[in-house]
Amino acid sequence: MSGWWLVALVAWPALMAAPIVACGRWPNLRETLSVITGLVLLAGVILQIGPLVDGGRPDILLFSILPGLDLHFALEPLGLIFALVAAGLWPLTTIYAAGYMRGNREPDQTRFFVCFALAISAAIGMAMAGNLVTLFVFYEMMTLVTYPLVTHHGDAESREGGRTYIGLLMTTSIGFFLPAIVITWLISGTTDFTAGGILAGTGIGSVGAMGLYALFIYGIGKAAVMPVHRWLPAAMVAPTPVSALLHAVAVVKAGVFAVLKITVYVFGLDFAYQTSATAPFLWLASFTIIAASAVAIYCDNLKKRLAYSTIGQLSYIVLGSAMASKLGAVSGSLHIVTHAFGKITLFFCAGAIYTACHRKYVSELNGLGRAMPLTFTAFTIAALSLIGLPPMAGAWSKWYLMSGSAGVEEYALLGVLALSSLLNIVYLLDIPARAFFLPGDAETPKGIAEAPAACVIPLCITAAGCIALFFLAHPIIDFVGTALGGPA
Amino acid sequence: MSSLDLLDIVAWHELGHLASWFLIAAGAVLSVVSGIGMLRLPDLYTRIHAASVADTGGMILILAGLMIQAGLGLVTAKLVLIVIFLLITSPTATHALARAARQDGVTPESNAQRTKTTR
């Protein structure tokens, strides 16, 4: 019975897309419906926590596409964490989006909300995928349904951005991810995620495993490991709620989640560690972290800066996976959560700033802090979280990453992490500093000029979340830890 | 049956054979001659005359030779039919051709154009 819950959860947002379309003519109803859908989904996912903590593993084999190739849902802690993040942030994003879209009088709002719902469906589907094929199905579905969101404006610039977005993501997924899955299937005869990894014991050599892992990492373009990160800045042409969704909730998290999941359940931490299949990616991820952070410093466009920041932050998670240790995996999954809250807050803020006074460049933000105190306070909190300062949630994930690095005896990584934190400070704290401490120009609004409440309330909530998670981190860690074997 | 009768039959047979031989050979010769004429003669109209030798003489002789071979019967009747139809259609085609050529301005190679009229 519990297996059908998973199917229901995956299908629910997708099914609700239909009434949302039907309500297209009544915006209030449509958005209420969206939020309700989100809340119901969230409730459904939360209901799964209990059984999972008790060690239950809901599992359902829906049907088989080809012999041995099934549409298979299964829930385990990693997936639940991802599902919780997605389901939890979606209602907030929806509320925020309602305010943002109306505030900026965007066209085609119905399509927007429908695609939103479908994207969440895809995210939940990935979270609950029981095998590689199912994961791939929803991975592709997510790429496709977010494409209309990226290209939302329909002008030349957004079409161009959309092309890069879908082109890169589809290219990598079909060019690398799909063959990687086929190879895995041919080698092991199954694609079901199994504890300890399905490749372990298949006799695949070290080089083969390394190559396969490379196919996976670059196949999952959503994880944005350089050099397949280009789609992320390109996608910044989308409306800000979309960026929030892409960069915090659904897309990028889906990418790193897939990496994590593959590392743990396809390769298996032990196997990956023994064959050192993942080792090269420690350094590729490190490079990405440093390089993306460095680029971010020079980005004047606020959203673009955040995008490069995301690229860097995602590689933390990839790094965690690539450590092939329990600690690394835990820290990675923790970072999924903390970064989600931090980054969504940042994007909410960027959107709020744009909605309120149509600024999108960092250099235009001078002195705005006084006009938008709530927004910039939230921004600061989120920024600190990403940098990794207590008492923000980000502190824990960085801490565990560092201990993970130490655990696998890669001390150079410590340096990388330290350097990147430094860079984070430079490009993130630069913004509130300008807003609060530099004088504004002539056009800077006097007095309070916050964005609509629908925008501000969500960002306050997520900012609060950043702090709250600092105290809730340990249950998560324990929970995830139960799912992982492998070297600590 | 007397031996004379038998001889008679053989002779007749031989004679038929001989006649057939002669006719076919003559037809073939006419044919070839008309072919030569087709090549030799200077212009279209004269070539038509050459052609008509083969069309009539050659054709009739050869088919007649075959008729003798076939003896009295349906085969001969068919051969006769062939002859009749050829005699009807081939001059028609030739005439149409000559007429069309003339209307098209192919002039005969002729020095004097004489006109005589009979009632």
Binding site: - | L30, V33, S34, I36, G37, R40, L41, P42, D43, Y45, T46, I48, H49, A50, S52, V53, D55, T56, G57, I60, L74, A77, K78, L81, L87, I88, P91, T92, T94, H95, A98, R99, A101, R102, P108, E109, S110, N111, A112, Q113, R114, T115, K116, T117, T118, R119
Partner: protein
Amino acid sequence: MRHLVALMSGLVLLWLILSGHYTPLVLALGGLSCVLVAWLCARLGLVSREAVPIALLPRLPLYTVWLLFQIARANMSVTWRLLAPRRFIKPGLVEVGLGQRSDLGRAIFANSVTLTPGTVTIGLENGRAMIHSLTPLADDDVTEGVMNRRVRWLESRHARAEP
């Protein structure tokens, strides 16, 4: 009606000659075929004095024999000329007034002329025929009017029937 009957009998005769199989089935099919063709000819307007020249029949055999004789004669003379040096060929054009009263007659005349090697009708209109000949001799043959007369004789009954 006369013509239709004549056409039918002609067709039946033709069928019998062609067929050579006289089983009931084939004969029945033959009968059907003849009827079909006759009907079609009627539709095509081919059951007429021109198309079924029964009036010529009585005199046709004699004319044919005469014509064959002419053809034989002409063949000999032309064959010789085909092989002889060029100077024996003196082509010429003759225009002949026609005495035939029907188109059928004129056509028979034209074809007869064409059939005889050495002469060819190259035009036929307004009661006059343009004849090209290989030699003056053959030309004389025509202008003498022998053939002209013969054809007139052939068609005389036919022509009388013409209004």
